[in-house]
């Protein structure tokens, strides 16, 4: 039995039929062709399938596509503005924060949320935020550097300890 899902993906309203067992990750990749959504573990652990759902990060492998009916989804394809990289993506490029690129879409989603909620994170906060993402290539240091470079310049605010150290 297929169900119809209507949602807004990267600013565009889409409608597609899918089985209830279809995860959001597979829906985005196979039904909508958004192959920037990467699938590693299908159990929430690796972070590569992370997207923004109504503005908040979510593992798209741990959601059913039928659950997002009426919601707004942003994938890595929606982060660039008409093909122009955003500041975070530009920082990833200039800091060599990717090699194979498998982890990058998920890293970008999480870093986007982090910098929106906490524009001046400490390095410890950046590392905690990224701890839910596995990267098999970079050794992480360049990714941390890129997020730092994309953050608001200035001293991190000591106040809000958003992520535990």
């Amino acid at each position: 039995m297929k169900l119809t899902v209507t949602c807004t993906v990267n600013g565009r309203e889409v409608r597609a039929d899918c089985e209830p067992r279809r995860t959001l990750a597979d829906f985005l990749r196979h039904d909508l062709g958004l192959t920037g959504v990467h699938v590693g573990c299908e159990q929430g652990a690796c972070g590569s399938c992370t997207v923004l759902l109504d503005g908040a990060t979510a593992r798209s492998c741990c959601l059913l596509a039928v659950q997002v009916d009426g919601a707004t989804v942003t994938t890595v394809e929606g982060l660039a503005d008409n093909g122009v990289l955003g500041p975070l993506q530009e920082a990833f490029r200039s800091h060599h924060a990717l090699q194979c690129g498998f982890c990058t879409p998920g890293m970008l989603a999480t870093a986007t949320e982090l910098l929106r909620d906490n524009p001046r994170p400490t390095e410890a906060q950046i590392r905690t935020a990224l701890s839910g993402h596995l990267c098999r290539c970079t050794g992480y240091q360049h990714i941390v550097d890129a997020v730092k470079a994309a953050a608001d310049p200035g001293e991190p605010e000591a106040g809000e300890e958003q992520h535990r150290s």
């Binding site: 067992r21 992370t50 908040a56 492998c61």
Partner: protein, 281 residues
Amino acid sequence: MKAAPFAYVRAAGVGEAVAALSEGALVLAGGQSLVPLLNMRLVRPHTVMDVNRLDLAHLHRSGADLVLGALTRHRQVETSPLVRRDVPLLAAAMSHVGYVAVRNRGTTGGSIAHADPAAELPAVCVALDASFTVQGARGRREIPAGEFFLGPHRTALAADELLVETRVPVPPVGSGHGVAELSRRANDLAVVAVVACVAVSEGTVTYARIAVAGAAPTPIRATVAESVLLGRTPSADVIASAADAVADATDPSDDLRAPAAYRREMAVVLTRRALRQAVTS
């Protein structure tokens, strides 16, 4: 892997949800435990019932209790000014649950019903004597946290009952709290975790709550350790003897994450750390 086929229903009300449960549907809340299990075909329900549109995301104070609807998200609880003020232990413990992306979706009801022996929230509920309101076809009942967790992923919740809300008694004003855990990867599910809440008045301990996760088939309350603290000055020696008393309360088993002896030893070490945080916070 991909999930086996199932039918999907979206519950519009608690009554409707309970009726679907009687017919064998499985509840889908945040999906952070259930969808991986579906993907790996470790569960194969004929029907999945999505409860996300039920009106159960309430979070408020009612008399001496903090009330959490079953659909409050971990992130909502972690960042709520009310929770941070009234039950800061709960907010602190939630910050250890997975990653922000997991906490954005995962629900308190789901974490409690899932009853992972190493999960933080069930341990906090046991420590603070929380109670759960559940609704079945025959009506509502309250289950104290101490009687709810029966074993790994086993609870007193009947298959046709929905967890509706959690009531957490607010600890005394001015009490301190501590959360100490051992995990393989920052924010991953703990191997062992200890949560503690302590109130000190005129130099002596007047309230002490300690619970350990990951060192027995269910979260356990360390009552003997609590009684070691009560009425005493929380010096390093007193904290150390309270922590030592935790070992006997544990009932760990060997598994691929850690041998039993290591879990028992870590329960003691982490209790010491959690108590130190609690008396200095």
